[in-house]
């Protein structure tokens, strides 16, 4: 199971947990396990077309999955998937 770092804005949907475990062999599967376990995260992460929302940045460890293979990027047990929202607070 990979670890998924949950940003503060999504924590209300994970019972406050800042990090959860999710299974899957690629980023898409991991995120779908996350949304299955925590349905409130579904519409924040994915659009109606099933693609990641454009405003959601997802990293495999420290690399943006956009420069890897997107949702098809392979994930191993030791990896961390980071969900990163833009914030505007100053």
């Amino acid at each position: 199971m990979a670890s998924v770092r949950i940003p503060p804005v999504l924590r209300p949907h994970t019972g406050g947990a800042p990090e959860v475990e999710a299974s899957g062999t690629d980023v898409g599967e991991v995120l779908r396990s996350l949304t299955a376990a925590h349905p409130g995260t579904q519409e924040q992460l994915f659009g109606e077309d099933g693609d990641l929302n454009r405003y959601v940045n997802v990293y495999l460890n420290d690399e943006d999955v956009r420069v890897l293979d997107g949702l098809a990027t392979k994930v191993s047990e030791a990896d961390t998937v980071v969900i990163l929202p833009a914030m505007a607070g100053g």
Partner: protein
Amino acid sequence: MTTGARTKVVEEIEPFEAAREIEGGDVVLIDTREPHEYQEVHLDGGKLVPPGLLTDEIATAAPNKSARTIVYCRSGNRSYKAAEQMEVMGYTDVASMAGGILLWQEQGLPVLAADGMTPEQRDRYSRHTLLPEVGIDGQLKMLNAKVLLLGAGGLGAPAALYLAAAGIGTIGLVDDDVVDASNLQRQVIHNTERIGMPKTASARIFIEGLNPDVEVVEHNGRLDASNILDVIEGYDVVVDGADNFPTRYLLNDASVRLRKPVVSASILGFDGQISTFAPFEGPCYRCLYPTPPPAELAPSCSANGVLGVMAGTMGTLQANEVIKLILGKGEPLIGRLLLYDALGTRFTELKVRRDPNCPICGEDAAEIPESEMGKFPDYDAFCAGAGGDRQTLAS
């Protein structure tokens, strides 16, 4: 020059004799004054060993006890005592320079002086100039630098505090808000007495009280497409501490066009993010965030809350980035996004790549013609429902 228990008379030499010996080489030259005196003026090759640190540091500065060693101070008193002490420690060929550096200078012999700074500045910035990465040159760069703070709030306040203390010569502040009691848990440059005062005016009072070297420029208003190029053009670095997406995108596009580096941070709750955007050298804000999130995913600090000290950490990190950019030292956060989780006390670093398809700085981004300069898309519409209804900066 009287010490009661003197057993042996220390050799004293005149400055011109010392100069001749120094020129001949093979002389260890020890300056036994305080660091601030040394910084102001010293002899070429003089190694600083303050009187109070003689027993601890002389072995490092003068490892060979039989080598010819000349000690000097301001007028010859401290160097006499130091030479005496060194003889007790086993140094066999020590001389004290009579009349010290004062007589040396009176006789027209050359010294190394810190150029371009007043004595007050040499004193004020001595802890900077002692650092090899800063030095006199670096401090002068800071004194000549112009930094614009976009927002004098949660991020701008701590950034302004340290940038002012560091001696940034010109600090511009953009904010259209007034000081509110709810700001004071994090906006440390404002205070209770100044509640109701424009933040730029309050910031000026604080900065001028801290450091008279800083010229404060107030931009008491809101940045928009009509004024942003004029406002940022005169600055070397911009610190983005805005509290809304439209201003962040506007600043990005204008700063890429004018090739101004932006040290950008954002805060919410216990979390902060920071990166440095250096146009065409690294990614820009749009490479990182092509599209702003909807409002429910981007609550404001006023709606969500923010830990004051975390804002201080992030604003201070911004000030640190600014200083590195000005000095041209270290590794700026270009192409790196640093996340800070104050609750877990955890830092995470992510890579940020330049997007070849970025509409602003990508490969196909057209050179902006003069006639298009200052014409921007409708950011409020672009960010509609994305926190774009918040019109004030850093509130």
